[in-house]
Amino acid sequence: MNKFVKGIAVAGLATAMSQGAVAACGDVTIAEMNWASAEFMANVDKIILEEGYGCSVELIPGATLTTFASMDTKGVPDVAPELWTQAVEVPLKAAFAAGTLLSVNPKPIAGAGEGWVVPSYTMANNPELKTVLDIIERPDLFPSKEDPSKGAFVGCPAGWGCQQVNNNLFTAFDMEAKGWVLIDPGSAAGLDGAMAKAVQRGDDYFGYYWSPTAMMGKLNMQMVDFGVPFTEMEHWTNCITQAECADPKQSAWSASEINTIVTDSFVKNNDPKAVAYFTKRVFPAAEMGAMLVYMGDNQAGGEDAAIEFLMEYEDLWTQWVGVQAANLIKKSLN
């Protein structure tokens, strides 16, 4: 009897050990932030992790500041695929130092940028407006609906890192004295709606936007040169991105920093191959742009777009995953 039990125990242990050699991927939570490219990336990651590496993935809605706060304090979600890190530079560096958060990919999207935009026809009709400095002298070209004596500049909604930057740059460029009013659109829908409405009517519009986005392409918007160089990083990080900034200086927008951030518990408890996937996956600007236009034209959500991407751009994503995972994923798409 003893020998029998011992035998079973040894057999069981051997099986367990051989299974343990391929570390299982467990439950993974991924942040699905509330803009198109983030939804798309989160869903691509979900399908690849689930089909290729056998993880059990849950998508958690979020936005830059809320998701970061949650990861920093609670360690949930495990992965933020598209975190625009400028707004949270200081606490993020602290987390890196403490080892609770890691950046596994310093540039998951190529060709990203933020800034102030006008429609192309505005630039064409007013060739003397070459930089932001020129535009802010002409609030009369962009009258606000509620107070036509002032120019309207549309900022960012609450919860986005850019809201504070826009507030501070508005002060730094002395726009209020020049006759501008900073309009808070309230929500992503408000921002998109305001821009879409203005462009549809052929009105001149001046506000914030970023790429990669379908809106920039579809509405043919142009980023405007700021006309001033970028201020020092120290000032940007410690003042312009913060709420209490006593004396913001004029500055161009910083180069956008997007990272894929993960928690240390994700790295420790999951298949190293799954973690390695995140380091390899980079979306080049052209492909990301094409997918965003697809999402806009076809009213596709993140999931549909992810499936379309995996079917159309096999050459691209098979470079990010191992052969075994690639085959599993291809099989699941059929």
């Binding site: 609450a158 919860g159 309009i183 879409a196 409405k197 203005a198």
Partner: protein
Amino acid sequence: MEFLYTFPYMGRVPLRDLKKGIDASFREFSFANGEAIETFFDPLLFFMVWFEKLLIGAPWPLMILIFAGLAWLGARSIPIVIGTIASFLAIGWFGMWEDTMATVAIISVATFLCIGLGIPLGILMSRSNRLQSVVTPVLDVMQTIPSFVYLIPVVMLLGIGKVPGLIAVCIYALPPIVRLTNLGIRLVDKEVLEAAEAFGSSYKQKLLDVQIPLALPNIFAGVNQTIMMALAMVVIASMIGVKGLGVPVLRAVSNQYLALGLFNGLAIVALAVIFDRVSQQYGKRLQKHRQGGHGV
């Protein structure tokens, strides 16, 4: 058997084409008529901008005096007047004065508009069962459809700002007053109406002297609910760019500032309670003849 477990659905391409078709036709409509609709609302917009500037620009002791005066006129009750003054002092002390004035401006315009539209609509509904059966489903939709669903077309037509915010608030706040006016008038005792007819009352006399006075408890319940729902929509209105207490609440929610959200939320509650108590007391005074009344 697979057929039973996955609902047979229209197909991705036809569904997508249907959705795109609806979007395209709305875009054409918006392109063709947007300017005209915007111009139609312009007087209302100018009034709201002027009113907001007035409330924000007026000296605060004057405003508090006016609110206390209105509270007294409405309620004739010292505790309510003192509560009103104390609330507004606290609101100002915590730095929420301008936002509160902006909210008071848009909510009072919205409330008066809703009451002005709602009571006549309720009266009309009470006259005709057919009208009631047509209007009731519309009211159901207005109360339950998620706000952003009708806000998207409104923002595309009118942009972000006070007018879309007003439309959002009114669509949500109109149904209570309509329903309760309709209910109140229908609930008036038939025998009382017969007595009025027997005495030779005209339709107008019946409506103004018999039906509405007797329906007042229900109508005032409707006014109360309309005010509450208008104030509840303050945050949604701020999601399409309306200034007021909703903006800091939205910031608080997006950035997880608990205290900011709490203070501004309580300011909204204070406004709601003041508006409500004053209007209820006014309603009670209008019906004073019924208390301890012995007939008539």
